[in-house]
C-alpha cells in the first residue's frame, strides 16, 4: 500500500507542477510586457537613472575634496618627516601623524566617511583625533546624504512597493484579477509569476541606475574598476536586489490584505516611509538613547586632563626629592646626574608612568567598549528594518561602514601602543619640576628619529573581507526575502474573486 501511494505521488507531482510552471512562465511574460509598457514604471526608472548620475557627480566631487586634502596633508607630512631633529617623547609630534585615506567606495556609498577624522596624532596621553573629513554633506551617520545606496533605498524602494501594490490591489481595483483567478491556475503560480516579473523589472531598473552611477564615477576615477571594487559592487547589487524584492513582496502582501486600493496605497506609502527613512533614523536614535557614549573628542580631553595632572604631580614630587637638580640653567640637557640619582629618578618615573598609563588606558578602554556595545546594538536594532540592513550592508561593502571605522581605530590604537613602548613610556628625556618652580631635565638616551619608528600601515580590506563584514546583513536580507515572498504567495489567495471584483 505504502509503495503504491509513493508511486502515485511521484507520478502526480510532475504532472501537477509541470503545467503550473508553464503558467508561471506565461504570467511572467505577460507581466513583464505589461510593466515594460507602463509609463509610470518607465518614468520612475528614467528618474532613478538621472538621480544616479546626479549622486555619482556629488559623490565624486565630495571624494575629490577629501582626496585633495589628503594629498595636501601627505605632502606636508612628508616634509615634516625629512627633519633631522629627534623625538623627545614629551608631547604630540606631528611627524607621527597617521592620515586617513578616503575610500574610493565613498563616491557611491558615503557611509561614515564624512564623520571619520582626517588624521590621528599620537601623544604621551594617547591618540588624538583630528577634525572630521570635509564633505558636501555633513551628517551621513544614517545615510541622509543622497548616494547610490539611499537612491536604491528610497526611490527604487518606492517603485518596488508600488509595483507590488499594483500587481494585486491595482489589478483587483481594475477588475482584471477576477479574470486571472477564474482560470485553472494555482494561485501560487500567479503569485510566483508576478513576483518573478516584478523582480526582473526592478533588477533592470537597479542595473540601469547602478551602471549610470558606477560608469560615471569610473570615468573620473579608474581605480573603481579594480577587481576588489567590482566584486564589492556586485555584492552591493545583490543586497540592493534582495531589498527591492522584499519591498515588492511587502507591496503584494499589503495589496492582498486590504480591500480598497486607496487603503493599500496609504498603508504602503506609510510602510515605505518607515523602511526608507524613519527606520534607519530610529535605529540610531534608539541606540544612542539606550547606550550613550561620549564623543571621542570629549573622551580625549578628559584623558588629557587626567594625564597632565598626573604628569605634573610626578614632575613635582620627584623634583622635590632631588633639590640638587635645581639652581642651574633650566633644561641644560647635556647635564648628567650622578648614576645613583639617575637610577632613583628613573625608577620613580617608571612606576609613575606605568600607573598613569594604566589609568589613561582605562579611560580609552571605556570609550572603546562603549562604542563596541553601541555598534553591536546598532547592528541588532538595524535588523528590524530592511532599509537599515541595506544601509549597513552597502556601507560595509563600500568600505565606508562601521567595520572600517573600527578597523582604523584599532590599527591606530595599536600604533599608539607601539609608540608607548618605544617612546612615551620610556622617554629619552626626563623633565622634572624642582623646588622654586624651575624646570630641570636631562637626556636619558639619544633621541630617536622618525626613521627609527616603524611607519603606520593601514590594512585595506579585500572584497572577501568586506563581504564577510556584511555577511550578517546579506543573510538577514535573504531571510527577509524568503519570509516576504513566502507571505506574498501565502496571502495571495486572499485577493479572492471578491464580490466587489465580480460587480465590475
Amino acid at each position: 500500500m505504502g509503495n503504491s501511494r509513493l508511486t502515485r505521488t511521484t507520478v502526480e507531482l510532475p504532472v501537477i507542477l509541470l503545467p503550473q510552471m508553464k503558467r508561471v512562465w506565461l504570467i511572467l511574460l505577460h507581466e513583464l510586457a505589461s510593466q515594460a509598457a507602463n509609463t509610470w514604471i518607465r518614468v520612475a526608472t528614467a528618474g532613478a537613472v538621472l538621480l544616479a548620475l546626479l549622486v555619482a557627480r556629488t559623490g565624486s566631487e565630495d571624494y575629490r575634496i577629501r582626496y585633495d586634502q589628503f594629498v595636501q596633508l601627505s605632502e606636508q607630512l612628508d616634509a615634516t618627516r625629512t627633519r633631522k631633529s629627534g623625538l623627545s617623547g614629551l608631547g604630540l609630534d606631528v611627524g607621527l601623524r597617521v592620515l586617513h585615506a578616503p575610500a574610493i567606495g565613498s563616491t557611491l556609498v558615503r557611509g561614515l566617511e564624512s564623520s571619520m577624522p582626517i588624521y590621528w596624532d599620537f601623544s604621551p596621553s594617547g591618540v588624538v583625533s583630528g577634525p572630521t573629513t570635509p564633505s558636501l554633506a555633513q551628517d551621513s551617520e544614517v545615510g541622509s546624504v543622497l548616494d547610490l545606496e539611499s537612491l536604491v533605498r528610497t526611490v527604487l524602494g518606492l517603485l518596488a512597493l508600488v509595483l507590488g501594490l499594483h500587481m494585486v490591489a491595482g489589478e483587483r481595483a481594475a477588475g482584471t484579477l477576477s479574470g486571472l483567478l477564474s482560470q485553472p491556475v494555482h494561485r501560487a503560480a500567479i503569485a510566483i509569476g508576478k513576483i518573478l516579473a516584478g523582480a526582473l523589472t526592478l533588477g533592470a531598473a537597479l542595473v540601469l541606475s547602478s551602471f549610470a552611477a558606477v560608469g560615471s564615477v569610473a570615468i573620473q576615477f579608474p581605480e573603481v574598476r579594480t577587481s576588489n571594487n567590482v566584486q564589492a559592487l556586485l555584492g552591493f547589487g545583490v543586497a540592493a536586489f534582495l531589498y527591492l524584492v522584499v519591498l515588492l513582496a511587502l507591496g503584494m502582501i499589503i495589496g492582498a490584505l486590504t480591500r480598497a486600493y486607496s487603503t493599500a496605497l496609504i498603508l504602503g506609502i506609510s510602510i515605505w516611509v518607515y523602511v526608507a527613512f524613519v527606520g534607519p533614523q530610529l535605529v540610531v536614535f534608539a541606540v544612542r538613547t539606550v547606550a550613550p557614549v561620549a564623543s571621542a573628542h570629549q573622551q580625549e580631553l578628559e584623558r588629557q586632563k587626567v594625564f597632565d595632572a598626573r604628569l605634573r604631580n610626578a614632575q613635582v614630587s620627584i623634583g622635590q626629592r632631588f633639590p640638587e637638580l635645581g639652581g642651574r640653567e633650566a633644561l641644560a640637557l647635556d647635564y648628567v646626574p650622578k648614576s645613583n640619582v639617575r637610577e632613583e629618578i628613573e625608577r620613580l618615573w617608571k612606576s609613575e608612568a606605568l600607573e598613569t598609563r594604566r589609568i589613561v588606558e582605562a579611560i580609552d578602554e571605556r570609550l572603546v567598549q562603549g562604542r563596541l556595545r553601541q555598534a553591536r546594538l546598532m547592528r541588532w536594532f538595524a535588523l528590524a528594518s530592511p532599509g537599515s540592513v541595506l544601509l549597513n550592508a552597502a556601507t560595509n561593502l563600500a568600505d565606508t561602514g562601521r567595520p572600517t571605522l573600527e578597523r582604523w581605530e584599532r590599527d591606530v590604537r595599536d600604533q599608539q601602543r607601539t609608540l608607548n613602548k618605544l617612546l612615551f613610556d620610556d622617554p629619552p628625556r626626563l623633565i622634572l619640576l624642582v623646588p622654586g618652580g624651575s624646570l630641570s631635565g636631562f637626556n636619558r638616551r639619544p633621541l630617536p628619529t622618525l626613521k627609527t619608528i616603524r611607519p603606520f600601515e593601514m590594512r585595506v580590506p579585500d572584497s572577501l573581507r568586506r563581504v564577510r563584514d556584511s555577511a550578517t546583513e546579506l543573510i538577514v536580507l535573504v531571510v527577509y526575502l524568503l519570509f516576504g515572498v513566502g507571505s506574498a504567495v501565502a496571502t495571495f489567495p486572499h485577493a479572492e474573486l471578491a464580490e466587489e471584483a465580480l460587480r465590475h
Binding site: S34, L180, S182, P184, V185, H186, L497, E499, H504
Partner: protein
C-alpha cells in the same frame, strides 16, 4: 455537469449571502439566475470558481469538488465575466491568446484558432487587433465568449455579461449561449437583464441569497418576464445597466 447542493455562505457580519441553494445543470442545459448584486449572485459565482469558500454544502463541476480540487474544477469551466476583467492594454486577440494559453489550450497560438473563436463570438474582424480599451464594452465581453469557445470546456459560467452592452451585442451573446448549449455544454449564468435570461432553458429568481422562484423558459414565455420577476422575486432592478 454542475451540481450545487445545499450551498450556504455566511458573511462575517453573520448574514447569509447564500442560503441553502441547490441547482443542477446537466450537459446541454442552460440555467440563468436573475437577481441584483446584493442578492448573493456574485458570491454564488465566486464559490463555483472556488474563489470563495462556502460555509456548508458543495459544488461539483463534472463530479469535481470545487473546494477540494479547485484547479482541476476550474479546468472544466470557462468563465465569462465583464469587460473590466480583461486587460485593457492588450488587443482583443492578445487577450484571448493569453487567457486560453493560461488555461492550458496548447494550440491557442496555432494559426486560425483564436480568429475562429473571435468570429464565432461575433467580434468584428476590424477589432481583432485593437487594444481592448479602445473598443466598446460589448465587444470586449464577446472576447470572453471567444475564450470559452477556444477552451471548449464542458461547463460555461457567465457572470452578468450583458451589463452595459447594446441590444445587438446581447443578441450575439444569446446566439453564443444557444450554440454552446447545442454543443452539449452546461451553462450557468447570472444577470440582471431579463431579456438576456430568456435565452436560457431555466430561469431562477435570486433574492436575499435564496432562489425564490424557478421556471422553465417555456413557462416564462407564457407571461411577461417582468411580471414574472416582480410577482415572484420582489424587488428586481429592471434596468440591465444597473447592478
Amino acid at each position: 455537469m454542475i451540481e450545487i447542493r445545499r450551498l450556504s455562505k455566511r458573511n462575517r457580519d453573520g448574514t447569509l449571502a447564500l442560503d441553502d441553494i441547490s441547482i443542477s445543470v446537466r450537459a446541454g442545459e442552460s440555467h440563468c439566475l436573475v437577481g441584483s448584486a446584493e442578492s448573493g449572485r456574485p458570491t454564488l459565482i465566486g464559490v463555483c470558481l472556488s474563489a470563495i469558500r462556502p460555509t456548508s454544502g458543495e459544488v461539483l463541476i463534472a463530479g469535481v469538488d470545487v473546494v477540494r480540487r479547485p484547479v482541476q474544477a476550474r479546468r472544466l469551466v470557462a468563465f465569462a465575466g465583464s469587460h473590466a476583467s480583461l486587460y485593457g492594454s492588450l488587443t482583443i486577440r492578445q487577450n484571448v491568446e493569453f487567457f486560453t494559453r493560461l488555461a492550458g489550450v496548447h494550440n491557442a497560438a496555432a494559426p486560425g484558432v483564436v480568429e475562429n473563436g473571435l468570429r464565432w463570438a461575433g467580434v468584428p474582424e476590424r477589432h481583432f487587433d485593437v487594444t481592448l480599451r479602445n473598443v466598446g464594452s460589448g465587444t470586449a465581453v464577446l472576447a470572453w465568449f471567444a475564450i470559452a469557445s477556444v477552451r471548449d470546456t464542458p461547463v460555461v459560467i457567465l457572470a452578468d455579461p450583458t451589463r452595459g452592452v447594446s441590444p445587438r451585442t446581447r443578441l450575439a451573446m444569446q446566439d453564443c449561449v444557444a450554440d454552446l448549449r447545442a454543443q452539449g455544454k452546461a451553462i450557468l449564468a447570472t444577470t440582471t437583464d431579463l431579456a438576456f435570461a430568456s435565452a436560457f432553458d431555466r430561469i431562477g429568481v435570486f433574492h436575499a441569497g435564496r432562489i425564490v422562484a424557478e421556471r422553465s423558459s417555456a413557462e416564462v414565455m407564457n407571461q411577461s418576464l417582468a411580471q414574472f420577476a416582480l410577482e415572484l422575486g420582489g424587488q428586481l432592478p429592471l434596468d440591465p445597466n444597473h447592478s
